[in-house]
């Protein structure tokens, strides 16, 4: 990373920091306009802060998915599975066994990575559509399990309740601004790791595999090993996001981890441009915080509720048609 402090990178860092604020503004206006018949005041800062935290969380997840989708060029339709594993690992450890968050979070990351490897092992040979299908099936199976196995989860439809907030020396971190700095630190860490990986031997190996697997193999790249590494790192980041969301949401349940969540994250990666960390972040910032704008009642009339995903679908189609490289990359 020779270009560490180029003006471009500084501008981008500022952009990432302020994009959620910009979105905050747009969301605030949207909420204001849509609810003005109910009350004539801006929504509370805490509510907006939660939207920003979610946007950062999606940035983190999009970077994780980008490692498999963007760097190694395999379409992962089951990324939400690792998010689920992270969430339930941390949630169950904290709510049931009273494990401290600072131990549960690394365990969630490790468990995510472990499952990334377990899922990766049989899929190493697969390419393209078949890989996509297996990953999809994997996430759906996990979803069914948390929905059905009540002896394990202990609540209807996979609900884990009352996950305690993290604490250090008696200071309890349960405010929204705590979560804001918390996710910002995690995100910075993940961005740093992802950038270092991308610009290292490993990252170049991944790109080589994406461009031509056979050529990469004949150049002496151990394709299986590098693919497994990509799966593990990507899944670990998913587990990290899940671990965070467990304490952020206090209660987690199966519908958090439905298939469409995977597609939403994929949509973010594709929007920003696959293979680009900045792209993933921009895509996540846009889609992750546009939620309020697209909520029924503002641009979209009330009777068309739930049409957010219709717009996401159209975005995917239009992007692939007119700008397959995403918003940030040059036209492929």
């Amino acid at each position: 990373m020779k270009d560490r402090l180029t003006p471009k990178n500084i501008i981008f860092a500022l952009f990432v920091c302020f994009l959620p604020l910009l979105m905050y503004g747009i969301d605030a206006i949207a909420l204001f306009l849509s609810h003005q018949d109910i009350y004539l005041s801006l929504p509370s800062g805490d509510y907006m802060l939660r939207i920003i935290v979610r946007a950062y969380l999606y940035m983190l997840l999009a970077i994780g998915l980008n490692i498999v989708c963007g760097f190694t060029g395999l379409l992962d339709l089951g990324y939400v599975g690792f998010y689920l594993i992270g969430g339930y690992t941390a949630g169950l450890l904290m709510a049931r066994l009273g494990v401290s968050y600072w131990i549960a979070l690394p365990l969630a990351v490790l468990n995510g990575a472990l499952w990334g490897l377990l899922r990766g092992a049989p899929t190493l040979r697969l390419t393209g559509d078949y890989f996509a299908i297996v990953t999809f099936g994997f996430a759906e199976l996990l979803f069914r399990i948390v929905k059905n196995e009540q002896w394990l989860i202990g609540g209807p439809n996979g609900l884990v309740r009352d996950i305690p907030p993290p604490a250090i020396l008696g200071v309890v971190f349960n405010q929204n601004w705590h979560n804001y700095y918390h996710i910002l630190i995690l995100l910075t860490l993940v961005v740093f790791i992802a950038y270092r990986l991308q610009h290292s031997r490993v990252g170049r190996a991944w790109v080589a595999i994406r461009e031509d697997e056979q050529a990469a193999e004949s150049m002496g790249i151990d394709v299986s090993r590098y693919k497994a590494l990509a799966f593990a790192v990507s899944a670990a980041i998913g587990g990290l996001g899940g671990g965070f969301v467990a304490q952020f949401q206090v209660n987690i349940s199966a519908p958090f981890f439905e298939f469409w969540e995977s597609i939403l994250i994929l949509c973010m990666v594709v929007l920003g441009g696959m293979g680009s960390i900045r792209g993933a972040m921009i895509g996540a910032a846009i889609l992750g915080s546009l939620g309020e704008v697209l909520r029924p009642g503002f641009i979209i009339p009330y009777q068309f509720g739930g049409s957010r995903y219709l717009i996401f679908g159209i975005i995917l189609i239009l992007l692939m048609r007119f700008r397959p490289g995403g918003l940030t990359l040059k036209k492929a």
Partner: protein, 298 residues
């Protein structure tokens, strides 16, 4: 014993429905190597279109069914024209993502138009023979509704017709040629894009029939295309993707497995059984149980 017999019938009916949907997946995959995720949504639209024709426009069932097939065929062709044709030479990943986007868009369009409320074909507008109390009694106390007989027979007739179409007609020959090698077929004077459009029309029309069949037995919801679509896709994979006969047999196997799994293991895992079979087949034997006649990669 009666329960067992009824489960077998349920499995066969479900299997016939899956087979009709699976054929749509497998035909498209055989020619353009694209998993058309939106095919499940076409199937869902088939059910809704028939429902609307019957309830809103008061069209009799026997007219609404073919009309729904035609409209869904048009929808499938339009989908190919708008979304997939421009990406014919793009990387396969782009087309796959487009298909997912299409599925997402159509499913939520249906939710916007018809709301998420489950609907049923109202019993007073259906031919009386389809009411569930009209049934044959089988030995052992089991019953076989005429409705199920109709579904199995119709599925069978359509399958045979499709098979004949592909192996005996000129357009079928063109389809097989395109599946083997689209470029060579094009050079031999086959209009590849037209053949692909016809493939989409046939697949979508069969999907629409399956949608109406589901509507006769269960409820119609915007998410049915997603759930049933995945199970049908599992059937296509099981039969060897690109292999039409395999898809039919795969449909029956998945249907039976699902019904027996739900009956004897746990109803919460209905769909999980299809997923497990699908993953196992892809990982252990990617060419499917019956090999594949077309298709180019594992």
């Amino acid at each position: 014993m009666a329960q067992f017999l009824e489960q077998i019938i349920n499995g066969l009916v479900l299997g016939g429905i899956y087979a009709l949907i699976a054929v749509g997946y497998t035909m498209v995959y055989g020619i353009i190597q694209l998993i058309n995720f939106a095919h499940g949504e076409i199937f869902m639209f088939g059910a809704y279109i028939a429902l609307m024709l019957i309830t809103v426009f008061g069209i009799p069932f026997w007219v609404a069914l073919p009309l729904s097939m035609i409209l869904c065929g048009m929808l499938g062709m339009l989908m190919d024209l708008v979304a997939y044709r421009p990406l014919r030479n793009a990387p396969r990943l782009s087309a796959l993502i487009t298909a997912i986007g299409m599925s997402l868009a159509l499913q939520n369009l249906a939710r916007m138009i018809w709301s998420a409320r489950p609907r049923q074909f109202p019993s007073e507008v259906l031919p009386t023979i389809f009411l569930s109390q009209n049934a044959v009694s089988l030995p052992g106390g089991a019953t076989l509704p005429y409705r199920d007989v109709f579904i199995i027979l119709l599925a069978l007739v359509l399958m045979v017709a499709l098979n004949r179409l592909i192996y005996l007609t000129k357009i079928g020959k063109a389809m097989r040629a395109c599946a083997q090698n689209p470029v060579a077929a094009n050079l031999m004077g086959i209009r590849t894009n037209r053949v692909i459009a016809i493939t989409f029309i046939i697949g979508s029309a069969l999907g629409a029939v399956a949608g109406v069949m589901v509507g006769l037995r269960e409820v119609v919801t915007p998410t049915m295309g997603y759930y049933k679509g995945v199970a049908a896709f599992a059937a296509a994979v099981l039969g060897g993707i690109g292999n039409i006969t395999g898809a039919m047999l795969g449909g029956i196997i998945i249907g039976l497995a699902e019904v027996f799994g739900a009956g004897y293991i746990s109803s919460g895992y209905r769909l999980a059984i299809a997923y497990i079979i699908m993953i196992a087949v892809i990982v252990i034997r990617p060419s499917g149980l019956f090999g594949r006649s077309t298709g180019h990669r594992a």
